[in-house]
Amino acid sequence: MYSVSKLADFSPAALDSAARELKSALEDEAAAVSGEGEWKALRDRWMARKNGILTQLNDQWLKAAPAPAKRDVGQRVNELKKLVEEHIDSASARISTSGTASRLEQERVDVTLPGTRRKIGIEHPLVRTMNEIIAVFKAMGYSVAEGPEVETDYYNFESLNFPPNHPARDTQDTLIISGQQGKPLRERLLLRTHTSPVQIRTMEKQPPPVRVVVPGRVHRADTADATHSPIFHQVEGLAVDSNITFCDLKGTLDQAAKAMFGSSVRTRFYPSFFPFTEPSADMQISCFKCGGSGRLDGAKCGMCKASGWIEILGSGMVDPNVYGFVGYDAKKYSGFAFGMGVERIAILKYGIDDIQLFYQGDVRFLEQFA
């Protein structure tokens, strides 16, 4: 097998001869290569940094050459280097056409094995629902506003037209911060029972027009079970301007319902009561499961309890008393507010049977929302 011999004679003739010997060995060896393994061996033998033939050429010919011959030797070594690369490349090209079928066969994988899926985080269904609602209203020109979870009685009740000792306060069992007894009622701290205080905070900060949507966490002193939670989330909305009417409230919420639940959804409104709106209205949507017929696959629709309608949110025209608390002119401005429970909407949308699942971080539950 060819090996680089030391040169004693650096004359052009001797160099020619040595180069020829190398060339012929290279051609023979390259031609003999018939597989991937052999080709790799060839490449390493000739081109390896450590002790490859080209390295040896460098050491034994070029470095050993006397100064006058250096230039000539250098040139020849470079040429040989190019030649070696060419032969090795062409050998590779040759075997890769001839060896394709067998090599590719060896590389075959079972494509029915499962893919390696990198873990991707899953959005919480409540945050996902909340963000979907917010996106609907943002597209309608609403800004997002937020407020503190610990509120004063003033913001949570009084300024929203719940007078002290009013029975309407009973419907919102309130969690209270300890040590408030010594304070005037309106300064007492509590956990907000709805996101509506942010209506007041927003109007205090800016003159009309106002258009905000308010996501947030709220608390009520409810015992936790499959349908109740002391913690839940709301999205509140408020629009105040000159010339906003009850028809606008209906149109806006109808449009939002269609964006949230599908364009075929119909809405209807019922009188209701909230101290901070007048008139107040509950909105129902036609059942998105049975299409409002109340029947599904020949049986009663469980989603809407066969009524064809599902209650989705509360709303109303902002009560003039509320404008009084924030210094808006009730004779000049009008507006509407609405609020919906995020849990309720997520429960309806995904058919979840236990509200507690939202707060347990159970991966088996969360994974269903991937």
């Binding site: 390696t116 985080g121 009561f273 991966v363 969360l366």
Partner: protein, 684 residues
């Protein structure tokens, strides 16, 4: 509350079927929740909003029907023979708390069972017939909505009624047999020195009607809502009477209700009318309000003709008197200004807007068009919105599932996981968790435990939420993030063996999150708080601020919670982080020249931190030094005790030229000198 449509039909000639009636009432805001039974036994299960106490009885609902269908409402006029005109003595000592007290005595009656038609109607509300007198009061309540009470007149010592505040410590055994201790905040009905009834809530036990009763006194009064409510709440009592008085009873209805009870008692128990009293202390009803029908259009957005507006209001019992043309509406409008008298039963109607609501609900909400408002003004983004969105998106991209945990934590957790003063609740939901969370970590650990208990061991969770601290005077709310990883890092793959999360995974995730912000440099300083493993945790500092901590949950805490595997945790103070702007991408021209890598195998003292080494090399200030990377780390084996070996890879590149070997050789010498100055050496 329940309503019998059959009973309603005594007062109004309703022509529609019960099911249609239920629907029409609901659309007018008198919600029928469900219909039970059929034919004459049909019963509506009602859901009346708290403001509509006037509709919590049959006659009130009949009035709504009269407005909805525009039909006449028949009056209730009890027929009583002329009785004895002697006055029954009543003294109201608290005119603020008791506005009116009507009383009628009936003597020589028989206590009997009520006739069947009364007993059956009481059953609508699941009231079982007691005797003809008690039943008459309950029947009247269901019919008219005004609560009344009947005393055994012979047991009222002194033959006189006094309405006064209770004395401190005074006791009263109420009808339900419970002995109540009273305070001066409570209003009582007293006879002689003794209270005989808790005003507006429940009568006294000792003066109740029994089989031996011969003479009765019917009480029909008006009590202050707030007083009734306060006492009822304090005593934990909720009665049909208190429910109505709290919400505002009809001041003018005391005489009618009293007469109606008397009529029923006389019809069933015989006897004769005796003394009477209608003692008026004050009149709480409110006067007329001005109503501009142009406001109907402005607020509702629909032109409802004045004729329709006044028809609706009159049917509901309002009195309208035209005062002139509206001045606030455009001249083309036909709007008028009216003086509107408010019926005494409508305690909820005090303002023009209340009248507009009446018009809207009887007109029917679904008869209003759906329109969209024209808007001015722009959408404004809150400063934290964008960083929060980016942080959340990145946590999701890093493979953490989003979770939400409850707000309340235990005393021990609040002390263990934060030094901030936690906020206590006055009325906590549970004695175990009386505090608002001052850290997201307890909630996170509970969620991890919940997963372990259900057989899930590979968990990656994050939560974005508020934590609270401060005092009873001032509560501070802070935005925090928390994330945790435990178990295997990757999902199952046939091709690779997964490995468990370690410190550097969690640190890398934290670094990826911090990289969202334009932070000059982040320092990880060991150790972190003592709930972390002291050797595997660090504070995360940006400048002088600690913005969070990360590391392994302390093995002792893990053992307490019965965790059988390492749990990695991190928390971030987002208020602090969001005060830093988001990192803006910055373009840098790419070099056209090749880069050169040099590996240095170093031997370093065990105490030498990577960060010191990195800083020492960076301090050389070699502009062509593009990156410093730690590649491999060895301990033990050929590496002597007290030392470790680190393979460091430096990359050099110039924007001006191709680097020569001797450039790199020179810089390498500087690097080695820097390593030497730290007591390290090149490994040979």
């Amino acid at each position: 509350m329940r309503i019998s449509p059959n009973w309603l039909r005594e007062f109004v000639d309703i022509t529609v079927e019960d099911s249609r009636l239920a629907e029409d009432l609901t659309h007018a805001g008198i919600a029928v929740e469900s219909i039970v039974g059929s034919g004459e036994k049909t019963i509506f299960e009602m859901e009346i909003t708290t403001n509509r106490v006037d509709a919590m009885n049959h006659y009130g609902v009949a009035r709504e029907c009269s407005a909805i269908y525009d039909i006449n409402l028949k009056p209730i006029t009890p027929k009583l023979a002329q009785g004895n005109t002697q006055q029954f003595p009543v003294e109201i000592r608290e005119p603020e708390l008791c506005g009116r007290y009507t009383a009628r005595a009936i003597r020589d009656i028989r206590i009997e069972k009520s006739p069947r038609y009364i007993a059956e109607r009481l059953l609508i509300e699941d009231h079982h017939a007691i005797n003809n007198v008690a039943d008459a009061t309950n029947y009247t309540l269901m019919e008219l909505g005004h609560p009344t009470h009947a005393f055994d007149l012979d047991r009222l010592e002194g033959g006189k009624i006094v309405v006064r505040r209770a004395k401190a410590g005074e006791k009263l055994k109420t009808l339900d047999g419970v002995q109540r201790e009273l305070t001066p905040d409570d209003l009582v009905i007293a006879a002689a020195a003794r209270p005989v009834g808790l005003a507006g809530i429940m009568g006294g036990y000792d003066t109740m009607i029994t089989a031996d009763t011969h003479n009765v006194l019917i009480e029909s009064a008006w009590f202050d809502p707030a007083t009734v409510r306060r006492t009822a709440r304090r005593l934990g009592m909720h009665t049909d009477a208190s429910h109505r008085f709290e919400r505002g009873a009809d001041w003018a209805a005391t005489t009618l209700a009293c007469d109606r009870v008397a009529e029923l008692v006389l019809a069933t128990g015989g006897g004769k009318l005796a003394e009477y009293q209608d003692c008026i202390a004050r009149n709480p009803t409110h006067g007329p309000i001005q109503f501009d029908s142009g406001e109907v259009r402005r607020i509702l957005g629909l032109d409802i003709p004045d004729s329709e507006v006044s028809r609706i209001l009159r049917r509901l019992g309002f009195g309208l008197e035209r005062k002139g043309r509206s001045t606030s509406s455009p001249p083309s409008s036909s709007a008028e200004v009216y003086k509107v008298e408010i019926p005494t039963w409508r305690t909820d109607v005090e303002r023009e807007i209340d009248l507009i609501e009446e018009v809207a609900r009887i007109h029917g909400f679904n008869n209003f068009a759906n329109t969209l408002p024209s808007f001015s003004g722009a959408v404004v983004e809150q400063p934290h919105e964008r960083p929060q969105q980016k942080l959340r998106a990145r946590l999701l991209a890093l493979g953490y599932d989003e979770a939400i945990s409850p707000t309340f934590i235990s005393n021990s957790d609040s002390q263990r996981f934060s030094s901030a003063q936690a906020i206590a609740l006055e009325n906590p939901l549970s004695d175990e968790t009386p505090l608002m969370r001052n850290s997201l970590l307890p909630g996170m650990l509970d969620m991890i435990a919940c997963n372990f208990n259900r057989g899930t061991s590979d968990i990656r969770l994050f939560e974005l939420g508020n934590v609270f601290d401060g005092t009873t005077q001032e509560v501070n709310q802070h935005r925090h993030a928390c994330f945790s990883a435990t178990g295997l890092l990757d999902v199952f793959s046939v091709m690779q063996t997964p490995r468990s999360s370690d410190f550097f995974d969690v640190k890398g995730d934290a670094e990826n999150l911090l990289a969202l912000f334009a932070i000059e440099s982040v320092d990880f300083v060991a150790p972190a708080s003592n709930y972390f493993h002291p050797g595997r945790s660090a504070k995360i500092s940006v400048g002088r601020n600690v913005v969070g901590e990360l590391g392994q949950l302390h093995p002792d805490i893990a053992a307490e919670r019965k965790f059988k595997q390492d749990v990695w945790l991190a928390w971030l103070d987002l208020d602090r982080l969001y005060s830093v702007p988001l990192r803006e991408p910055r373009y840098e021209r790419l070099s056209r020249y090749p880069s050169i890598e040099r590996d240095f195998s170093l031997l370093l003292d065990a105490g030498m931190s990577y960060e010191r080494l990195r800083q020492a090399i960076a301090a050389l200030g070699i502009p062509e030094l593009r990156s410093i990377e730690a590649h491999e780390l060895f301990r033990g084996g050929a590496v002597p005790e007290g030392k470790y070996s680190l393979l460091l890879r430096l990359t050099f590149q110039s924007w001006e030229r191709t680097l020569r070997d001797d450039d790199v050789a020179g810089w390498s010498q500087q690097v080695i000198a820097a390593v030497n100055s730290l007591g390290g050496s090149l490994r040979v």
